[in-house]
């Protein structure tokens, strides 16, 4: 979702758009856990998006809280630059605790 290239990218004048804008839905399955992306839906406004998210994504008590956000408002990293972005972390093994070999007597550290 690098560029908001979804077909429902809003046009300048909302009255001219015929398709309801696209929203991404995030659900917290229970208190103590993160909200997790679970899908998307079309809705005319925020209230309707929340209502529809409840109907579409929590029919079986899958959630205790729902977030919705307009898809065109999400900024994402470019999948084409995935390697450049994320691979540099590959050779920084010293960031992991297992990199350090300690005497057995203190190895629980």
């Amino acid at each position: 979702m690098t560029t908001p290239s979804s077909p429902s990218t809003p046009v300048a004048d909302p009255a001219m758009a015929t398709e309801w804008p696209l929203w991404e839905v995030f659900v917290r399955s229970k208190a103590g856990l993160d909200h997790k992306h679970c899908g998307s839906l079309h809705a005319a406004d925020p209230r309707m998006a929340i209502q529809l998210a409840r109907d579409v994504y929590t029919r079986r008590q899958e959630g205790t809280s729902v977030w919705v956000v307009r898809s065109d408002q999400i900024v994402a990293s470019d999948p084409g630059e995935k390697a450049m972005y994320f691979d540099p972390a590959q050779d920084k093994v010293y960031r992991h605790p297992t990199f350090y070999v300690l005497p057995e007597s203190v190895d629980h550290m």
Partner: protein, 335 residues
């Protein structure tokens, strides 16, 4: 609920065009390597046009099937025999609507709008599962659809949870998780009819099974040797198990369930083959399948007509909701 080897229905399939440039060739190779390594492809990743087209056709037609599939069962909501059965049927039909929405959303990630897909359905360019072009004549049809039609659908759909296209696979995981109640409630409804019902009700169950059996096993799609696009779909990890293999698995599983229910399956050639360790079954009338897919089933016109009418009748609601939103949401400054 229901996919049926939809990949065999596109007439634009199988024409892997000559690759244009060395760069594209490289991308194609990298893509093939990812598929071979069992990696998932995400929406914004590069993918061959034909892969995109094949998926778009399959996922959108799967979505259409869910939505059209609400109609035959919706037919019985107001006439369910008890409040319990009515609540169950409502929940099931609502699920089908939800499944259609998950799938439309997955298809939209491939770059087609919801409206375009709906237009394709309404103008007959896109197909939906042929099974929904059969009428639901009695209450026993509700149980039978759950048992056989949803049962066949589940068998078809479980392998798609491992589809190489991640948004489709994720939607299918969600769908499969919700779907198993559909089959169980159907079998449960039939059990109640045969165990606690009258002779007339038992006959009703048998009649429903007689009518739905053949269309149900057709849901797995044409035989492997007449399924020209299957090989490519297998290569791409869109399809995991062949039509005939799934059909056999379904038949083998269903025979015992039918015995327990005390109904017969309407195929005189159906019998256990000790050597194959599987059931042999009679010849399927594929001319019927192609006729119904082609538009000449008992209810094609009615089903599509109901969808088009719902869409047209709802136009003012869609427009009003947008107008209301425009009036009450401050217009965001253009980025």
């Amino acid at each position: 609920m229901y996919t049926q080897a939809m990949d065999t229905m596109g007439k634009d399939g199988g024409d892997a065009k000559a690759l244009r440039s060395a760069e594209e060739m490289q991308r194609q190779e990298a893509f093939d390597a990812r598929i071979d390594a069992g990696e998932f492809i995400e929406a914004k990743d590069w993918m061959p046009d034909h892969y995109r087209k094949t998926l778009l056709r399959q996922i959108s037609q799967h979505a259409h099937s869910e939505i059209v599939g609400m109609l035959p069962e919706g037919n019985w909501i107001s006439r369910a025999p008890t409040l319990k059965r009515k609540a169950i049927l409502l929940a099931k039909v609502q699920d089908e609507g939800g499944h259609g929405l998950y799938l439309y959303a997955a298809a939209e990630t491939l770059g087609t709008s919801r409206d375009q897909m709906i237009d394709a359905l309404h103008t007959g360019r896109a197909k939906y599962s042929s099974i929904f072009n059969y009428p639901t004549l009695t209450w026993a049809d509700m149980g039978t659809i759950g048992w056989l039609v949803d049962g066949a659908a589940i068998m078809n759909q479980v392998p798609i949870c491992r589809c190489s296209y991640a948004p489709y696979a994720r939607a299918m995981v969600r769908i499969c998780r919700e779907e198993s109640f559909h089959q169980r409630q159907g079998y449960d409804a039939l059990l109640t009819m045969v165990q606690q019902g009258t002779d007339a009700q038992r006959a009703m169950v048998q009649d429903a099974v007689n009518r739905w059996w053949w269309p149900s096993i057709m849901m797995f799609g044409p035989p492997d040797d007449q399924s020209p696009n299957s090989a490519q779909s297998m290569r791409w990890g869109i399809k995991r198990i062949s039509n005939d293999t799934l059909r056999q698995k379904f038949i083998d599983a269903t025979v015992e369930q039918a015995q327990l229910l005390g109904v017969t399956l309407p195929d005189p050639d159906l019998k256990w083959n000790e050597e194959r360790q599987a059931h042999d079954y009679g010849a399927i009338d594929w001319s019927e399948f192609w006729r119904v897919i082609g538009g000449d089933g008992p209810c094609n016109e009615e089903r599509l007509g109901a969808r088009v009418k719902a869409w047209d009748d709802g136009a003012w609601v869609r427009e009003a909701a947008l107008a209301h939103a425009a009036k009450h949401t401050p217009v965001r400054a253009a980025a």
